[in-house]
């Protein structure tokens, strides 16, 4: 980011704004074209955007993990059949009903991390929209090659004896990490535990901690 010289920074912002305005215009033109052909309705699309954004606020990943932490039998069912477990909790998978979800468990011997090297498949229904870094060529190329270095960049230092398992989502299975329950949380209830479960922990680039901090990226 050229921040040293004011005019370069302004130029970058101006360029980005112009690009965005250009894309907005192109997208609007395509939608108008399709609308004139009776294929889609602009109003319907806008409503769909709203519905999607509202739905992401209720993404079910943290609830799933919190229940698994407090209920060992549920945890077993989750690991054996995640779709069934999701149905148990009433998590809405309408748009992804055909998708098979698999929860992979972190232990004191294994740490899991998820990627889609070929494109950027991601369990949107559970985690909300994917972060840009997950979709980046840098993450997709490096996490299979040097997972520990990538995790270290995320601030996660793993014991060298722990096996890192990288799951490349090459088909229609979607993976979610079941992070370890942090120490010192014995007194917390399910709702409070769910607040400790971050999106990055569900991807595997973070672990859950007992206290929320300013850098915690909440699942919203």
């Amino acid at each position: 980011m050229k921040g040293e010289q004011g005019h370069d920074h302004d130029h970058h912002d101006h360029e980005a704004h112009a690009e965005s305005a250009s894309m907005a215009s192109r997208v609007g033109a395509l939608i108008a074209n399709l609308e004139s052909k009776g294929i889609v309705s602009g109003a319907e699309l806008d409503a769909a955007v709203e519905a999607f954004l509202v739905g992401t606020q209720r993404a079910g990943g943290p609830a799933l993990v919190a229940r698994a932490w407090v209920d060992p039998a549920f945890r077993g069912r989750l690991l054996a059949d995640a779709n069934g477990a999701l149905a148990e909790l009433g998590i809405d998978m309408t748009h992804w009903a055909h998708v098979k979800v698999r929860a992979v468990e972190n232990t004191d011997r294994v740490h899991n991390v998820i990627v889609c090297t070929l494109c950027s498949c991601y369990p949107v229904a559970l985690l909300g929209p994917s972060p840009t870094w997950y979709k980046s060529l840098a993450y997709r190329s490096r996490v299979v090659r040097e997972p520990r270095a990538v995790l270290a960049e995320f601030g996660l230092a793993l014991d060298p004896n722990i096996e890192v398992r990288v799951w490349d989502s090459t088909a229609e299975l979607r993976y979610v990490v079941l992070p370890r329950r942090p120490d010192g949380t014995e007194a917390l209830g399910e709702a409070e535990l769910a607040l400790l479960v971050t999106r990055d922990a569900l991807i595997g680039t973070a672990v859950c901690r007992a206290e929320t901090g300013p850098l915690r990226e909440a699942v919203r």
Binding site: L53, S120, W133, S136
Partner: protein, 105 residues
């Protein structure tokens, strides 16, 4: 289906053409650090959100399927693939598919 049987012969003959595989980046190097944005919104621009739901709607309506969509992105020229933002790729793929299927242009 020629795509499935022909490649075995081509493999044996050593005549496989160079595959477009800009998207197939597992293990590749040179993409720099992983840049993260704190508090990133689901979409950075409204047009991205519209592209997202448009794509979903067009697939629901049966204009193309998810694999066609991915393939359309993969068929982008390498420079365009690398230079385009994520949702820009989506938009270009949608345009390409609709054009190939005679829906637009």
């Amino acid at each position: 289906m020629p795509a499935r049987r022909g490649w075995r012969r081509a493999l044996l003959e050593g005549s496989l053409p160079a595959m477009p595989s800009t998207h197939d980046v597992g293990g590749a190097s040179g993409f720099g650090p992983i840049v993260r944005e704190a508090g990133e919104p689901p979409f950075h621009h409204e047009w991205e959100a519209r592209v997202f739901v448009l794509n979903r709607r067009l697939m629901q309506l049966g204009f193309y399927n998810l694999d066609e969509f991915r393939f359309a992105i993969e068929r982008m020229p390498p420079e365009a693939y690398r230079a385009s933002s994520y949702y820009e790729k989506w938009f270009l793929a949608i345009e390409r598919l609709l054009s190939e299927k005679g829906i637009i242009r």
